[in-house]
Each structure stands twice: as C-alpha cells, then as structure tokens.
C-alpha cells in the first residue's frame, strides 16, 4: 500500500526528471546537423518543474520555514487599495507582468553570438540557483516586514549607511537601464519609416485612450485597451503605405541622433504630464500586448517546431565577437542578466507584490515561479534568434564599423567569419520585411522581430505577412520599452527629489513644480547623455552600454542577496545560508571580473581606459580616429571613456561597501545568541 502511494507521488517526478535530463542531453551533446527548438523547450520546462518542486519548496519549507498560520501584511493592513489579500494566480499574473520586460528579450539575443548552448545553460542554471532564489527570498523577507522596500530592508537589517549607499546604487542603475533601453528603441527605428510611423502613432492613440478612460468611461480598462489595440493594428497596416510613399516616407525617416534627441524630449514631457493622459494607457497596451505576444510566440514555436540554425557554440566564445566584446567568462553571464538573475526584481519583490500576499505559503509560487516563467520567455527569445540563418543574425547585429554599410561589403565580411551569405539574400530579406536595409540593426530588438516574424508568419499569413509580423514585433518591443522609460524616469525623478530634498527640504514635495522639473531634468539628462553617447559610438553603443547595464543589474542582485544572507544569519538559519551565499559568490566573481575588465582590459574593444589611451595617443600624434571628425569630438570620446570607467568603478565600490557591511552584520548575528531579524507581526497579532 505504502509502496503504491509513493510510486504515485514520485513516479511523475521521476518521469519529468528523466525527460528533462534526456532533452538536456540532446541539446548539450548534439553536434553537426541542426537541432529542433522543441528539445530546448522540453528541457527547459522539465528543469523548471523539477527545480520548483524540489529546490523551490526546499527553500520554502526547510530554509525559510514558511508559516501558513502567520497573518500577512495584506491581511493585517487590508485597506482595499495597496494591501489586499489576493488570489495567488491573480497575484502571480501581477508579479510576472511587473518583472518581465524587455531585458529577457534582448540579453539572450545578444548572447546568441556565442551559439545557443552557452546562453541556454546559463539561463537554466542561473534561474534555478540565483534569479528565482533572489526573487523568492526577497519577497518572503519583505512580506514578513509589512512589504517594505529593498532600501528600507537594507537599512533596518544592515544599517543606515549601507541603506543610503544602496539607494545611490539603485539610482545609478536606473539611469543606465533607461539609457540602454532607449538605445534599443533608437537602433530599431533609425532609418525605418514604417517602424517610426507606428511608434509615433501610439502617442495620439494613447492620448485618445487616456481621455476616454478619464472622462468618458472611467476605469473601463478592457474597452479602452480594445480601442487602443485596434488603433495599433491600423497603424501597422497604414505604416506600410507611409513607408512606400515618396512624400511621407522621408517625413518619418530619422537618423539615430535625431531619434535620440526626440526621445530625450519625449521622456521629459511624458514624465511630467499627468499619468492618466499618456502613461497609463500605454501601460495597458504594452502590458497586454506583451503577455499576448509571449503566449503567441510560445504557441508559434510549438506549432512550427523550427530548427535552430545557429551552431551550438560559435568561435566567438574567444571574445572576438561583433555583438559584444569579451570572452565567455565573464561576459556571457553579464550579457544575460534578466532571465537568469536580475537584481531589479528585488525592487518589485519588495514593492507592490508583498503587500498583496494572501498567505505566506504562496510566496514560492509567486516569487520562485514567476521568475521561472521569465526565464522561459528568455529561452523563447534565444530560440527566435537561433532559428535565423547565422549569417543573417550577424548581418543584423554587427556594427557598420565591422561589416561596412553595403550588402556587398557585409556579405563579404560575414562570409569571412564562416557564415556564408550573398548580397542578394540580404537585400531580399530586407525587401520581404519592408525595410530599406537589415544591416547593423543592433540592439537585439530587430533580430528578435525577424525571428518572431519567421515563426509567426509560418502560423498565420505565410511569407506575405513577414513584413506585418516584423513591424508588429518592433512595435511591441518599442511600446513597452517606452513605457518603462516613462515610468522609470518618474521613479528616478522621485529618488532624485528625495536626495535633493535632504539638502533643500522644499524641493522634496512631489507637487513642487521647481523640484519636479529640476529632478526630471537631472534624470532625463542622465540617461539622455548615455543614450546620445551610445548612438554616436562607431561600434553601435550596445557594445558599450549593454555590458555596463548587465554588470550593474547583477550587482544589484548581489546587493539584494547580501541582504538575504544577512537575514538568514539573523534568523539563526546559518546552516542554510549557502542557498543565498552560493549565487552571491558567483555574482560577485562575475560582476567584479567583468567590471575590472571593462576598466583595465588592454584590448581597447573591452577596456574603457585602453580605449581612452588609444584616442589620446592618436590625438597626441595629431590623428583623428572615427567616428570623431575633429579634435573636439576626439576629446569627447576620451571623456566618455573616463565617465564609463568611473561609473564602473563606482558600481564596484558600492557593491564592495555593501558586502563589507554584510560581513559585519553577519558576524554580529553569529555572536548573538538569539535571532535578531526584525520581523513584523506574528500569527496572533
């Protein structure tokens, strides 16, 4: 009887584990012929299920000791607004929508330059042992402390100084994040009248939706989203005619620099006008489009079952790749941040979600589970990039400085790397997509869009719909990146107002217009500066900014995991502290190595200081190096390098300081006989 029962309980898990192990074996060991994407999908799903059932629940029961009888902040402070006990599936959706943005779609696409295998393995291992652990443990800690924010948690558990240091670190990370995301949009829209028209069209559509939702039918989110969705589809369809028109196409064709300046102006305006007018309606569109597209892509992959044409591992693991510079270790691990481990999630896990947890035992499903789901999104992005002909992938993702600006030059350069392609193939794909060129459309979004168009047109519409699906995918990515840029600029503004406010209290009030405009200008100026620098970079900017973003994002994860480790020691659960120490150690090794290399690597493609040195030497000899067209621009390039190097140094100092305070807090916790963690509330309160 007992034996029968245990077969029933464990049998399915043995099957899932075996299936996962075989699929993973196929993915990892397969060489030569192409491999079907389904193997990766099956391997990933089995890994997620097994990891959740065994590791996630191990952390829940043994490490954290979840207590179903304990009342959560949502129950104790129920106000029907912020604190609301929420059904766990509903909250899962909320949490997932909040954590999954553009990051998991871009990073894996860039990492595909090293082949599909390194990225896949890091996504799976990273999420199970680092990303999901961080999200879950932070959610748990915040839920036990009235839903306090990461900054507050660091302050109360580690001290005031580390709290302030962490706040400054978070602000800098926001600035880099906004710059790199804006750069992805600029890269996707430059010289693309169809794409630019559709993205521009979202603004009047959103304004219309905003007015409808505010005055005509307040709160009717479904209706207003439907109206917006129809508007978007019309914009895509109409965009084709705009792109084909000799009159209108030039009006919507802009250089990267022009788009960057427009985006900076837009960011400023969008973050000071009322949220209901522009931001909220765009939020609806981008959120629902995001979820819909992710589901659509998953179904598409299952139906089409595409073959991966990218090799498992390419020669570019040696660090000479055109998409980003640097060897597999450490740069693959910082290129894929979101999807494997993303420090930014610690802000969401200590934000709105913990205030809505109905029962503590829901935290593994929401914290650990939603992150597994994000990892799956990243896996799909990697699949979409890997189904492309590798030659197309490299033509799309290599900067013009490496492959030239004509299809003849590009075909020659890419073929020279061992990925044979003809100029005709490159021209033909561009015309199928309704674009003038596909060369050097760096930043990940266009690659993902081509991959998605490939898969989705196989399900709906055939080759004739390629151009529609391509622009649909571009619009979908641009839309939610712009929403993040608006919302992020606002958050950065509040943080800056908070910081300025400590010196000039009057400016702290968020309704004070001087403080408001001043802080917004600082925020927009910050990310705008990095954006413009990226747009004018001959290597395409993504090369420089994406690793910086990856490093900073994972450093934030290291900060969050330090706090988690401290709390585990203060809870007197030291014997399980390896659960957070393990990912923390790995992240510190990766990010500090990558940060160090970005500063001091002798190769000027990797090290900022070596790059500055190269330009300084040229300047001393009286030479000009592209893209600089004069002495002033040469000096600007050198200055940018020093700023980037300083920023890297600052990130490293912030992390080192937090770890220092972490070690101090842990040793104090060890010396204490009783638990010292500052939990709020209890089962009987």
């Amino acid at each position: 009887m007992m034996a029968n029962r245990s077969v029933l309980v464990w049998g399915p898990w043995v099957l899932v584990a075996l299936l996962g192990a075989s699929a993973l074996g196929v993915v990892a060991l397969h060489r030569g012929e192409t491999i079907n994407a389904l193997w990766i999908v099956v391997a990933a799903v089995c890994v997620y299920l097994t990891a959740y059932r065994f590791y996630g629940l191990f952390i829940a029961r043994r490490v954290l000791g979840l207590d179903p009888a304990r009342r959560t902040p949502a129950v104790r402070h129920n106000d029907g607004l912020d604190y609301v006990p929420t059904h766990k599936y509903v909250l899962f959706g909320h949490h997932f929508a909040a954590i999954a943005g553009a990051g998991p779609l871009v990073g894996p696409v860039l990492a595909t330059q090293m082949g599909y295998l390194p990225g896949t393995l890091w996504l799976l291992v990273g999420v199970v042992f680092a990303g999901a652990v961080q999200d879950f443990v932070v959610l748990f800690i915040s839920t036990r402390r009235d839903g306090r924010s990461l900054g507050d948690l660091i302050r109360t558990e580690m001290g005031t100084i580390p709290g302030v240091i962490a706040m400054i670190g978070i602000l800098m990370i926001m600035i880099i994040l906004l710059a790199v995301l804006a750069l992805v949009v600029v890269k996707a829209l430059a010289d693309s009248p169809w794409g630019t028209f559709t993205v521009f069209a979202t603004m009047p559509i959103a304004l219309l939706m905003g007015i409808y939702g505010r005055y005509i039918r307040p709160g009717r989110i479904g209706e207003v989203s439907l109206i917006g969705f129809i508007g978007l589809i019309l914009a895509i369809v109409f965009g084709e005619h705009v792109a084909a028109s000799p009159v209108w196409a030039p009006a919507f064709t802009f250089s990267g620099e022009a788009l960057a300046l427009m985006l900076i102006a837009y960011g400023f305006i969008a973050s000071v006008i009322p949220v209901w007018l522009l931001l909220a309606p765009r939020d609806y569109l981008s959120t629902f489009l995001k979820i819909g597209t992710i589901v659509g892509l998953a179904i598409g992959i299952l139906i089409v079952q595409p073959e991966l044409r990218m090799p498992a591992v390419t020669r570019f693991i040696d660090g000479t790749g055109p998409v980003f510079a640097g060897t597999l270790f450490p740069f693959l691990f910082v290129t894929i941040a979101c999807g494997a481990v993303s420090g930014f999630h610690s802000l969401v896990s200590s934000g709105t979600t913990p205030k809505m947890i109905e029962n503590e035992v829901h935290t593994p499903f929401i914290g650990y589970g939603a992150m597994l789901m994000e990892s799956f999104v990243a896996i799909m992005a990697l699949v979409a990039a890997s189904v492309l002909d590798p030659a197309i992938y490299f033509a799309l993702n290599s900067p013009a400085a490496l492959i030239g600006s004509t299809t003849n030059e590009a075909a020659l350069a890419v073929s020279g790397w061992g990925f044979t392609v003809t100029p005709v193939m490159l021209d033909q794909l561009a015309s199928e997509l309704g674009e003038s060129t596909i060369l050097s459309r760096t930043g990940g979004a266009p690659t993902l869009a081509v991959g998605m168009a490939n898969i989705l047109s196989n399900v709906i519409g055939g080759p004739g719909m390629m151009a529609f699906w391509y622009h649909f995918a571009i619009l979908f990515e641009a839309l939610f990146i712009l929403t993040t840029v608006d919302a992020g600029t606002r958050v950065a503004r509040f943080m800056i107002q908070d910081l300025i406010g400590t010196a000039v209290p009057r400016l702290k009030d968020t309704r004070n217009w001087t403080g408001n405009l001043l802080a917004t200008a600082v925020a927009v100026g910050g990310w705008g500066w990095f954006l413009y620098q990226g747009v004018t970079d001959p290597l395409g900017g993504i090369n420089t900014l994406w690793p910086l973003f990856g490093i900073s994002n994972q450093m934030l994860a290291a900060i969050a995991l330090t706090m988690c480790t401290v709390v585990l020691f203060r809870m007197k659960r030291a014997r399980y502290a390896w659960v957070t120490l393990l990912p923390l150690t790995w992240l510190l090794i990766c990010t500090l190595t990558a940060g160090w290399q970005k500063m001091f690597h002798p190769d000027s493609r990797i090290g900022f200081l070596a790059h500055a040195g190269k330009y300084s030497d040229a300047l001393a000899r009286g030479e000009l190096l592209p893209p600089a067209k004069g002495v002033g621009q040469m000096r600007q390039v050198i200055f940018n390098d020093y700023v980037n190097a300083s920023l890297c140094a600052l990130f490293m100092i912030v992390v080192a300081a937090i770890v220092f305070y972490g070690v101090k807090a842990v040793s104090e916790a060890i010396r204490s006989d009783a638990p010292t963690s500052r939990e709020v509330g209890d089962a009987l309160a």
Binding site: H94, I99, G101, I221, A280, F288, L347, A487
Partner: protein
C-alpha cells in the same frame, strides 16, 4: 471563483488596478458609514500610486 472572473481580475491587476468590488466591500465591513471612493476616483487614485514608485522591471 469562475476562471473567467479570475482572468479579468488578473488582467486588471497586471496594470495595477485591484478589484473595485473588493474595495467597496472592505470599506463596508471595516469602516461602515465612512465615505467610499466612486469607481472613477478609485481608478485615478490607483494610477497615481502605480506610477509613484517602482512598478515594473526592465
């Protein structure tokens, strides 16, 4: 709860708007007789809150 109802609640909470009905019934139970925001006010209040802090990731 019916799955369609759950899906609707999920979609609304994804954009930061919790159930208005739950809010009203909470007010009735916990604060009887005190003023309750109408749907428009409730919705506007939630929007301000959503964009007043970190509500999303990259």
């Amino acid at each position: 709860m019916h799955w369609l109802e759950l899906a609707k609640l999920t979609a609304r909470l994804m954009v930061g708007v919790p159930s208005y009905e739950a809010y009203v019934s909470h007010r009735a139970v916990a604060h009887p007789g005190e003023p309750v925001m109408d749907r428009g006010k409730f919705y506007a209040e939630r929007l301000e809150k959503r964009f007043g802090g970190v509500s999303r990731c990259c």
